[in-house]
Symmetry: C3
Subunit: 273 residues, 3 copies
């Protein structure tokens, strides 16, 4: 099932508009190119909606948000909604400041968001309107584990229904749900947490997968999550002595670049609950 | 001929002021360092002209342009013109939004631009005042091919004369012309299109080559284009199974770093028409 | 002595707020992660102080400063001072423009800065209120050498006393002093100057080391400088034919990622004068 999703990304080359942070933007662009999409970054209010118009999907990432780019997120989001384009929201650091929490909550309430991709602390912040995010990383107390999995899945499903969106919570175990079905994905490696921006990269490729697969957004989002995790697994298996987080970062993008639908289908470790 | 051009970059270490996008800025800086130049990035209106004054050349790249940086492009450009410094314009995404098209056209009309470096769709947009750019990549319908080469060269030559600038159009075949002579360069690999910012990097190193070689700007620009393409060829020849666009990106910058004038002279594949 | 400093970084995972330039920000984030810290980047005035509040230390880097981010540097700095967090200042390009010089001088006078990390030309600019910085690189005429070492150390010590801060001057020979003791560190490789942002990365990890080691800030800063230099040495020793500045960049971050306190202790080449 993931095979067809991935193949469609490579055959249709979805053009994705990204309003994203300047920390990880280069990796996001290269990850979107690697998976078969085509990225464009533009965040000035005078062109945000125009750029959305020529694209097929929109990726809004609030890392390094500011008073110039926040209005552009809304303008691009509204245009994307008018055009029926998928809109992904990555609420980076929601809970770390009032500005981030408020902006993420407002984006969710004023726009039709197709998918929210974040760590569990960011997602909890959206659910509760305030948070305990430790910077841009998830709070360990919030982590999804094998022990609390069924409760966590129930929680995320209820939130997805309430927000009327797909939610992709990533961490040691990833959950992707539309409120009804929930993919539980077990690819990925702890060392990915030592690279800045693996989450941002995943949000970018998820936007590309959603854009190329309007017929099945839930499976598209799950396939994107599995792609990132499997790329992390494959890259990790080739790590040599002396390699660290910088080389691992490159190897993950390389693995996405080389991944075809068949490899994804066979390597993805998931169940649906 | 390219040998002396490259040697002069390494011996003079030209200082290049870059007002450029935040997507590829790190790669641009490392590429300029790799070719023998020294980059400085500064885009606030309060320092843009001052920074230009201490440099030898200016690279203006309109990717992620915004209402703060656009006035800085003009201020820096005017100062560079006063000082007789070469000014390179990379019209990233011209045609993708009115803001980009208008800004690129205004920069060309209000500043004395030494060289425009872009893909064929961006260059056509400048010629026609509107465009069909597909995001930041060239439209396949516009591509320069062996079949339409002589017509394309005539078109670019006429445009260079009309705009009174050197134009470097890069793609599968690169054309670099001052309106009179036209270099046709056949280095480079298709996989370079899967890396974000190879064009931006080329613009940065072209600015360095122009700065170090005021006596022959056309050959300087052609040598820069050949350097980037040859670096792409050399890096490609060392790709191993599992390598993808991230490793290729690094290997291209590495190849620029290791390239001497002799290697460039021997590896450059060009004719002058 | 450096061993315990480094171990404390890895065991406490200091959260560092960075207001930094967009050229090297990704490498700064990955370097902080590599050394055992956790970075967050935020520069909008509406959240700068809030983000500082949830962190343990602050890294202010004036590369690509602008009229939006300068007020955020002061707001975050004041909050950090109120909370007793260490504040590091990297005066990138001080001397290259009036805006950079003035901003660096004002930050030093209005904030309680724990440590200034820069090249010798930037540091001289701070001492003299104006400078001869050649862009973002040090002026060769200013370089600290074995010949002028004792005079340079005296100069930096006096400046550290006068500014009431730790000063870390990095170059071929690094000096780290609180005005009393001065560490002279001889790790590092010339090729590090061909990578954009090794100084910025060092400032980021220095902020992390200071945050994790409030009991001994001078040794913490010296240990950070030695970590970066030793990582440069280790990475250099593994360079292969064809490797250049891009691969070297990655290998340095990898080396930081793999460095434990024991390795640092044994590899650091320093004396105290």
């Amino acid at each position: 099932m993931f095979k067809e999703i991935q193949d469609r990304v490579r055959s249709s080359v979805p053009l994705v508009h990204n309003i994203t942070n300047y920390v990880t933007v280069n990796d996001v662009a290269n990850a979107i190119l690697a998976c078969g999409g085509s990225p464009i970054m533009a965040d000035d209010i005078e062109e945000a909606a125009d750029i959305t118009s020529i694209c097929g999907g929109l990726n809004i990432n609030i890392g390094t948000l500011n008073h110039n780019t926040i209005p552009s997120m809304f303008a691009a989001g509204k245009r994307a909604n008018e055009l029926g384009h998928p809109v992904l929201l990555d609420p980076v650091g929601a809970g770390a400041s009032q500005l981030r929490t408020d902006t993420a909550v407002r984006l969710l309430s004023e726009l039709d968001i197709s998918c929210v991709r974040g760590n569990i602390s960011e997602i909890r912040t959206l659910a509760e309107g305030s948070g305990t995010t430790k910077g841009v990383d998830a709070d360990a107390a919030d982590a999804v584990t094998e022990e609390n999995l069924s409760g966590a899945a129930r929680y995320i499903k209820a939130l997805a229904r309430s927000l009327n969106t797909i939610i992709a919570v990533t961490g040691a175990i990833d959950l992707v749900t539309d409120g009804d079905k929930c993919f539980v994905i077990r690819n990925g490696q702890p060392l990915m947490g030592k690279i800045t921006g693996t989450g941002c990269q995943l949000s970018g490729i998820t936007a590309a997968y959603l854009t190329a697969n309007p017929q099945d957004p839930l499976t598209a989002a799950a396939a994107a999550v599995a792609t990132m995790g499997l790329a992390g697994d494959m890259a990790y298996s080739h790590m040599l002595p002396g390699d660290g987080n910088a080389t691992y970062r490159n190897r993950i993008i390389d693995a996405i670049c080389n991944m075809d639908g068949e490899t994804l289908e066979q390597g993805a470790k998931y169940e649906i609950i």
